[in-house]
Symmetry: D2
């Protein structure tokens, strides 16, 4: 009754469907991007290995430190973030800790986890306009005007909670230092500062970079593709998601909803009615 | 550089790794459990098809009606359930509606979605003790005592919110009618009633069956395996999860957390401190 | 140390953050869109309840039958779909059946589960062009030309596996009958047929509607919003996902990967190398 | 129509429902376990921050290095693992990179991701038996006999693919060195070696520790709770999941199933049949 034709094929043909350049295994052997894993254990740092796995080569120490700072800075922003809250609730529902973490990560979508990626795309756009001859400030002003005209936020700027995100300054200080030392080029930093200035022009209240733009600057300076901006944020925020899920697990709470049981959700639907 | 040996194998060998008895496809053909899909469209109901897919054969109409009632009864219990709340939050994070539904379903774990399955296992245990000669009331009393002795809830009985779950009576009425008509045997109903009576003995407040036990009785009478009790609940509650995610999507909210922004989560950790 | 201000607020204020028009609960009461749940059990079908929960009112029987047929038709397409395969693999990894279903649902994204939604948007676009005075065939031809010009598929037409999807004809027959009986208007059916004709013009091989377009026609004729096209597909395909996860669970397999253990994934990365 | 009573409550009461000891935020302030985030950026490593978030305090450098080695060692084992394969498939379905990572993490359940946690529980059990006076070898032999008697694997020992897991030796070398330097006590290492010896006694083929036991030894020596063994593995393997999802994303594949389209899944169900 098999629907599969019985013409021969090679194992290689089938294996090619799942071929990868990331990791090679054979009995007794595991190589990550060509490096035998036993050569790396105790020698390669975790952050260097993140870079190796995503990019194919190890970074130099100065670049690795920048990546490390960005990953460290975004680990958590407390339980009012829906990703954290959902993971905490999951941890009380009788699922594995991995399922709780997955629940949180699943919420880091375009709106909740995508601002860094979108900001990286914006920085690339601004650098491209600059390359084509536009003055940086003019091009930044045009981008801000385009967003405002469409009623859209400029991703990575302003924060609904912090007047000035406390992670902005120390991250940008590290980038400035790296530029001064020739570690990175500094063009994404310049682009982000130009956008920040354009957002402030003619306004009484500044709209400073938040964590998304500050890490976007770092990831862009390090040459990561914008979509990996989201990916790196996922790795970073997974630490906070895990810490919160674990705290909730230890509390012993069961089926934790968003509100204490004594507070009922409001109701806005039709009044009680009967079937005809 | 391929690690896959090039010894020939047949497509059948590889296809067998993914062999299934559920659905057969070939170009221009789709058969569900042997039935060409075009013969079923417009003729088989959705609930009959659920049964077919899970059990391999279609149910008779009377059994199908019982399954339909159980699936219908459990579609929703409002946004205070963590599964619903998490799906609503997901819907504001810039992920697809499918990701929001998956988020809710992911939370229907042992504690939040598993009581029906556990109750089905308990009913099977009680029926087995009865088969081995114990009086039903004695065996039910023993099971209740065992749970109380271990400080455990009897799954499917009592509700942290409803003194009496409004879904209990109409569901059990349907089962009683089906027993009277010879549609189902009634042994799982008897077992559940015996547990309910045992829980009430010597107490001033009854601990009546909730939706989990009422649907567990139906699924058990219909011959579903206990683990499918969880599976059927997932299908049922997916309706509520989708309805709530959709309502939230239409609201246009962005990054909805568990609390309004004006209310801060409390903090129980160490006071502000500095690195040495 | 609490960061939450101690200014009083009402429970209503907090409850309003989670207010909903879908379901109202109070001790001993559950109302779905205003209907006490006990009035619906044994009277409302599952499919009618899906409609009620998503739309706020019950459908008439003829419309409900159309919805039922569409939900039934799309329950499964076998384990080669990534959603099904991922759910089957999940079922062997020691997670709950709900986590396995969530894994499958999570994969029904824009590309794997979104064609119906995109087709509904296309039908709405075509109807709008028609309303603005364009001949239907001309407007359909223009849309096809636009897609071809951008190298894009027309969502809902053609199938990478079936020369003619066996679900197309019986679903469209039901719509035609419903149009003849005045149950639905038929404008989305006309639009879809016009697109099908436009795709065939000047080609030797037709590109007939697949399941996504056929169900998109039904959902559009019934007045569902395009995004709910995805939502309804999720409910429908959840049946197949559950059936496959359950079949895999019963097999007792552990940590099932995509390939039998004897077949190794190919490797395309760098040759073995050492740290400096 | 609000179901929420209008008795006043304080914001603190509601905030307490979400109270946490992990992170405190206030406008312009973010503190992780009491440390202002701006003091940590550029100074705390990512791995130290993982420790801080999970344990509440920073580790000393020697302990941090052990944690780093364990996290680094388990980042990937190739696309034949269901977690990796599912994430790769997800990446072709039109969902966000975060959803693809969540899909992979969701599969790291009791069977696929839980062996480390179970091994940590076993090591704790063996240490406890030793504390109660049993000779370590006797107690290890008893545990092995218990598992064999129940037909169960001893979690963390043996590998279905590697005769000897290449990650075992370098990880245990690091632990031995740390014991020699007084960094950790060495009791979990002794326990694991006793189990390995007990598994080998009277057998011709050894059953050496795999990555799960080797990392379990480290996490146990560092004082992590067993369930965090799973949590730390999730953080580690997320790197491989992300790298593979990203590789697949770059391939441009759409709706990648487990088999090439030319190979059909086998079918084991009933022959074609018709409705009566």
């Amino acid at each position: 009754m098999s629907a599969a034709a019985d013409t021969p094929m090679t194992r290689g043909e089938v294996g090619d469907w799942w071929a990868t350049g990331v990791t090679r295994i054979a009995p007794g052997e595991i190589e990550l991007r060509g490096y035998p894993v036993q050569d790396l254990i105790g020698r390669a740092t975790f952050v260097d290995t993140v870079w190796l796995m995503l990019r194919g080569e190890f970074p130099d120490p100065a670049r690795s430190r920048l990546l490390e700072a960005a990953l460290m800075a975004a680990v958590d922003h407390g339980p009012q973030a829906p990703s954290i809250a959902a993971a905490r609730m999951a941890a009380t529902c009788g699922v594995g800790l991995n399922n709780a973490v997955a629940t949180g990560v699943n919420l880091l979508g375009d709106v909740h986890g995508g601002a860094g990626q979108q900001c990286m795309e914006l920085l690339a756009d601004l650098r491209a306009r600059h390359d084509e001859g536009a003055a940086l400030d003019d091009a930044a002003g045009a981008i801000v005007a385009e967003h405002r005209g469409q009623g859209r936020y400029v991703p990575g700027f302003g924060h609904r909670f912090h007047p000035r995100d406390p992670r902005r300054d120390p991250l940008l200080d590290l980038v400035e230092k790296a530029v001064a030392e020739g570690v990175v080029e500094g063009r994404s930093l310049e682009a982000a500062l130009a956008l920040e200035a354009a957002l402030a022009r003619g306004r009484t209240r500044p709209v400073p970079m938040n964590i998304d733009a500050a890490t976007a600057v770092i990831y862009a300076e390090l040459g990561f593709a914008p979509e990996l901006g989201r990916g790196l944020f996922v790795l970073s925020r997974s630490v906070g998601i895990l810490a919160h899920a674990w705290e909730e697990r230890q509390s012993g709470a069961r089926i934790k909803g968003p509100l204490p049981r004594s507070v009922l959700a409001g109701y806005t639907g039709p009044a009680s009615r009967t079937l005809p």
